[in-house]
């Protein structure tokens, strides 16, 4: 019996929490005054955001010429950041939808923050297609609407138009999903918060939630259905983004491998970002018990897998180019690896393919410090992946007479910094005012692996959640 028990999985939630304890501990994150650490982070993030706003304001007042682009390289930082952020978004949907459908219990402690991250990432991503326009004030022209021009519709053949739809859909679904998952917790907040203003607010958003079993039943159904709806998005959105490039005629862009390659890359970078965030969050918000090394370990395995896929894609690109006997194709890839932007290419390879291999070692997977470092490197690497795909394909394309170099200006860097600022500002506010961890779901998971000996048994029988009439 005992030895059988040893085979049982280790618990997801450490410290043998009781439901009530869970509630109080997680609520504490929203109720206790912000730690100096939080304030420090917030100030930094907000400073970055301010820098971003300043550079965008200057961009709008002066023109896209304030970026380092030229007649040959029409996209660089702008679209790189766009693809990067969209990619980040993916992990959220993956964790919340797919892992939910696959009944991965460990997701419960991270899905809330992952979904929040998705929302913020998509916001950051959405900004770039707008500000990169020559005439951003006309951005709405990209949507089809009845007009007096004949009427004149949009070009449904253009991947950019598809993007517009894909991203708005993605944003709306993620938002709904996130909000829906939060309703029970909002109710809990409503019932616990002392401030009457906040109670009003929470009351409004919890849509009059009463934890009755009927409510729970319907809630679970809706959640399940929405998860089903959201799942295709994980694949579709980045596929469409990849078509921005795949449907073009530019060597290095014009390739059929892009959709799977981009989706894998997206999940890769997304997971890395989730790790970065939760590792910080669990420290700052003192949630070590809820986000345990086991969670981190699980996500690291994801990294390992997707890193493998990405690496394979890198290799395949070269193979196709070599196999195609196409002089332009071959040149582009040689130029990536050995040309003027080779440094970027090798950063990408090292950070995305070589370094993640360290995660084969359990010990590294279990050390938050190591994982934190790796996840950050991966994010850097994935940013460079997009940069390399976009810039090296453009800067030396068909006619040598057009070949140029691209150098970013301060304004562009400012915009990139600003997007990070926006992202972290939002995330920190989220940590401060909303439950970082889905209480209701975690409570469902505290039992997990309790049968393992050496884990303290709870005094009282666990209920799903305190029921409020």
């Amino acid at each position: 019996m005992a030895e059988l028990a040893l085979l049982a999985p280790e618990p997801l939630i450490a410290g043998g929490k009781r439901p009530g304890q869970v509630t109080s501990e997680i609520l504490a994150t929203t109720e206790r005054r912000a730690s100096p650490l939080w304030w420090a982070g917030f100030l930094v993030a907000f400073g970055a955001l301010a820098a971003g706003i300043a550079s965008v304001a200057y961009l709008f007042s002066t023109g896209v010429g304030t970026w380092g682009l030229n007649n040959t390289v029409g996209w660089a930082f702008d679209i790189t950041n766009f693809v990067f952020w969209i990619g980040i978004g993916h992990a959220g949907t993956l964790i919340s939808a797919i892992l939910y459908l696959f009944r991965q219990r460990w997701r419960t402690s991270v899905n809330r923050s992952a979904e929040a991250m998705t929302i913020f990432a998509v916001i950051c991503a959405g900004i770039f297609p707008v500000i990169h326009l020559g005439r951003p004030w006309l951005a709405y022209w990209i949507f089809p609407y009845p007009n007096t021009r004949g009427p004149l519709w949009i070009n449904f053949r253009s991947p950019l138009a598809w993007d517009a739809f894909a991203i708005t859909t993605y944003f709306l679904i993620s938002l709904t999903f996130w909000y829906l998952g939060m309703i029970p917790d909002l109710a809990t907040l409503r019932d616990h918060t002392p401030s009457r203003f906040r109670r009003r607010l929470y009351a409004f958003f919890s849509l009059g939630w009463d934890g009755s079993f009927r409510t729970w039943l319907r809630y679970e159904t809706v959640y399940m259905l929405l998860a089903g709806l959201a799942t295709p998005l994980v694949v579709s959105v980045h596929t469409i983004v990849s078509w921005d490039f795949a449907t073009s005629v530019i060597p290095g862009w014009h390739t059929t491998i892009f959709p799977p390659y981009f989706v894998a890359g997206a999940i890769f970078s997304g997971m890395a970002m989730v790790l970065t965030l939760v590792i910080v969050a669990r420290k700052v918000m003192r949630l070590e018990d809820y986000i345990t090394p086991r969670h981190i370990d699980a996500m690291c395995k994801f990294l390992l897998l997707t890193s493998g896929i990405v690496g394979l894609a890198y290799a395949t690109e070269f193979l196709t180019a070599f196999y195609s006997e196409n002089r332009y194709e071959q040149f582009v890839f040689l130029n990536r690896a050995l040309g003027p932007y080779a440094w970027g290419y090798w950063i990408m390879v090292v950070a995305n393919v070589l370094i993640p291999q360290l995660l084969w070692f359990r010990r590294l997977r279990r050390s938050t410090a190591a994982v934190f470092a790796i996840s950050i490197l991966i994010n850097v690497g994935m940013w460079f992946e997009r940069f390399i795909i976009i810039v090296t394909s453009l800067h030396r394309d068909y006619l040598p007479a057009n070949w140029t170099m691209y150098r970013p200006t301060l304004i562009e860097v400012g915009t990139l910094v600003g997007s990070f600022g926006l992202f972290f500002t939002c995330f920190l506010l989220f940590c401060r005012f909303l439950p970082v961890i889905s209480m209701s779901e975690v409570k469902g998971a505290i039992q997990f692996g309790r049968s393992r000996p050496g884990t303290p048994a709870p005094e009282e029988s666990p209920l799903p959640a305190e029921v409020h009439p």
Partner: protein, 217 residues
Amino acid sequence: MASRLTAILLALASAYSLLLLRPKIGSFRLPGNQQGYEPVQPIAYSHRLHAGELQIPCLYCHFSAERSRHAGIPAASICMNCHRFVTAPLGALRAEDALASKEKRAPRLIVSPELQKLYDALALNEKREPDPSRRPRPIAWVRVYRLPDFVYFDHRAHVNAGVACQQCHGPVETMERVRQVSDLSMGWCVNCHRQANQAGINGRQVHASTDCAACHF
């Protein structure tokens, strides 16, 4: 229960306000739509009188419409073709003549105030001969029909294709003061082109291009 009442009231109220808004909605025009613009002109020139009553053909004054992209506002010298002699409404002149013959005297010269402006512009003296002491100054008419700078419109093409002036400018011969009749929106242009391609212009087959570069370059 309370919520249901709220819903009903909301619905009623919005329906009611839509009812009140109807006239406004009916007359709502998009930004930049100048339809109905009817500015006051420096000289109260009446198209109703000239084109309507007197039946002067449009192309007599706007002759460049046949040969240029602009229909052109006629030069003052073209007004003088008639108004060298006609200095006031015919009625007034006839009345004066009648009065003069009754009073056995030479008819007095009557100059309508509006035409006086024309003579002033040309710096003519009362005998309507050039007056060296004064400087002629051109008449600044107010443009009624205006297209944005990024649109190329050519009267030549339309006039020679047999499009009637009224097609776009409306019944000018009935207007005292010219009013912008059509809204000049792109849809308005394109639809007319499409119809012309199908139905032709007064029976004749025409090719009215619907390429962007027909107007935008």
